[in-house]
Symmetry: C2
Subunit: 418 residues, 2 copies
């Protein structure tokens, strides 16, 4: 109960400050972002030493190595945070953009104008860089933000947050626009998810468990940045060399990210020519293959894929492979087992490509390119707050523009309704 009161009071303060931030000029916001970048650079040693406490505790608790890796800050990673803030400052401010303007027969002039959402709650896990990246994106888009990071990164997050807050104090933006929940229990998250009068959007970033918990408990709209079970379908009309390059890139270049390929679908008429070379190259690169019976008849050393494999996000050097009879079977498979993230077809037949691109119900659908391009920078949007696997409001890379909403401004000369 006390937690609820504390969090609600924090949300109220942030929302009041958000109203001031919404009217702040781009120049003032950019100045704040640059001061924050400078402050991170100057306070690197302090941040690294606080981070060491988290890393030591995590090692002592024998957390998985992948978690410890994500948690660990280095000079290079701090430099990355600094660069992200600077790049965000350089991006165009979406606030105030006139999306559309039209005049009605009665003379009413209607403008559809981009405005900040208000107050955003970000719930994340053990990546300390999320703290400064999200502060930068929210501030630039005119939004106040409440951060709730994972308990494993508590010292690191607080150190980063304090540095950012000190920098903000030197500007005309109210410091209350950034808030951090320091409590480590889930009660605090639950309290935040109830502040529906203050918080306009919740963004969970992390594993499946966190995202499920947040979407099941939130009374506030949530945009999920869920898993990426991405597919590449190699058509019988594919350029085999191109298919090889694309599939290898999608699986191997960086297997631990959400836009990496997890399942490869191959047309039966090309499987005999394509699979032996392709799977040979992947296995040589250390990829474990889990195949359908057809795949296993063509290539030796392939483990059998179980039903669960088709929906799994490995985030690792593992690939499930299925031979299919048609592009329709590929589309159905993707719509059934995929996560609506990024899926590709390799084909030289334009009509077939169009059919795939229309039929697959995913945020990003590719023809003849690697799914690895689903990314704010690669799309030219700059830093992103995540890749939305939802359909409402934001789909795919979610950058500055997607952190805004719109309002209708109607200019009259005394019009009344008849």
């Amino acid at each position: 109960m006390n937690t609820e009161k504390t969090i609600r009071a924090m949300a109220r303060k942030a929302k009041a400050a958000a109203r001031v931030l919404a009217l702040t000029t781009a120049a003032e916001k950019n100045k704040a972002l640059k001061s924050m970048a400078q402050a991170l650079l100057e306070n690197g040693a302090r941040i690294l030493s606080e981070n060491q406490k988290d890393v030591a505790a995590s090692q002592k608790a024998q957390h998985p190595q992948a978690l410890v890796d994500r948690l660990t800050l280095t000079d290079k990673r701090i430099r990355g945070m600094v660069d992200c803030l600077k790049e965000t400052a350089a991006l165009k401010d979406p606030v105030g953009d006139v999306i559309e303007t039209f005049t009605r027969p009665n003379g009413l002039k209607i403008e559809k104008v981009r405005v900040p959402l208000g107050l955003i709650g970000i719930i994340y896990e053990a990546r300390p860089n999320v703290t400064s990246d999200c502060v930068g994106l929210c501030l630039k888009s005119g939004n106040a933000v409440i951060l709730k990071g994972g308990k494993e990164a508590l010292f690191s997050n607080q150190a980063i947050f304090n540095v950012l807050k000190e920098a903000l104090r030197q500007t005309r933006i109210p410091v209350d626009v950034i808030q951090m929940i320091a409590s480590t229990d889930r009660q605090a998250v639950q309290a935040l998810l109830k502040c529906r009068d203050e918080v306009d959007l919740i963004i969970p970033r992390g594993g499946e468990g966190l995202i499920r918990f947040v979407s099941e408990h939130s009374l506030i709209p949530v945009i999920k940045h869920y898993k990426g079970v991405c597919h590449t379908y190699v058509s019988d009309r594919a350029d085999i060399h191109m298919a090889h390059q694309i599939c290898f890139n999608a699986k191997v270049q960086r297997p631990g990210v959400c836009n990496a390929m997890e399942t490869m679908l191959v047309h039966k008429d090309i499987a005999g020519r394509f699979l032996p070379v392709m799977l040979g190259a992947l296995m040589k690169a250390g990829v474990e293959i889990r195949g359908c019976p057809f795949t296993r008849r063509i290539v030796k050393g392939v483990k059998p894929a179980r039903e669960e494999d088709w929906g799994e996000e490995y985030l690792d050097l593992i690939l499930s492979v299925k031979v299919v009879s048609s592009v329709n079977e590929a589309i159905d498979h993707i719509n059934t087992y995929g996560s609506h993230h990024s899926d590709a077809i390799v084909t030289s037949d334009r009509n077939e490509a169009r059919q795939f691109l229309q039929g697959v119900d995913s945020a990003c659908v590719y023809s003849n390119a690697s799914t690895r391009f689903t990314d704010g920078y690669e799309f030219g949007f700059g830093a992103e707050i995540g890749i939305s696997t939802d359909k409402l409001h934001a789909r795919g890379p979610m950058a500055l523009q997607e952190l805004t909403t719109y309002k209708y401004i109607i200019l009259g000369k005394g019009q009344i309704r008849g």
Copy 2:
């Protein structure tokens, strides 16, 4: 448990049919809408006689007259449903619109294309016309729909739904794209709200209780069409005659709708000249005035406004009136007590208008016009599914375009990520 299974099976069927509908041409969809309109016209007698059963039951149960009114169908109301379907057929199909297209330095061509959401669940109360209006809008925007109307309108809704379904059977669109939950208990609604793998959006239409219930129980994104606590602020720099016309229209022209004015704010320096004439005219029109102490000193016969009055949607000939000291006080009052729907300023000072339009956090903000214009038809969008008071995805009048999402289509020539 059985209810859950039944509803999920219904949702699965609808979702499968939605994939076919998403690829259906505008011509085919328009043909279906016109057939439906024709069928409603031809089956008017059957619909009216089923409606009579609902009306009789409602009268017997001594439901409030307003509910019985909303429930009652007439030839004219059926004609209204027919017209709505025909007008929806005449609107431009948003599906397939290319919102943006850009080419990246590596040659990737990216298209942001409008696509249907998929499957929409609509939960509403006792207005039978919602059944056909929503079917029309969902179908035209390429979405399948599951309808769950109020139990008071069960016979009417089923009659309308059956007529629409018969008409659909004559087209190439799978009939499963429209579904109706005939069960009258809340269990069925709860089951629907759990179908997160099948249903893409829930739209509740009705009173506060229904909307609260739906948003608290839904695992699916919800866009709320909540109450309209709309304000008009009369500045000390207002044209008094214009202010009089606008306020009278906003309150009296149709008091029972969400864009009618519920609170009038008046600057203290104009209150002495403006309020006596204004309130006199309103009272003469039968409006009950509930005023702040300042208002009550200026005009006799005004009841005192209680704190609860500031947040209340009367939907009736009642108006709360408050005298304020500045445009900032007006903005703060609206942001505190309003419902983020529609709010207006009357002023001849452009800078003051700008300040109000920027500062008020509502879907539609007006300068020198009546709030009554917040409406899909008045904005030129055509029929609307409601007025969203949420900020995510759709804000203000929610018409065809807002019933779609987008996907990114990326066309490559073998690009891989370096």
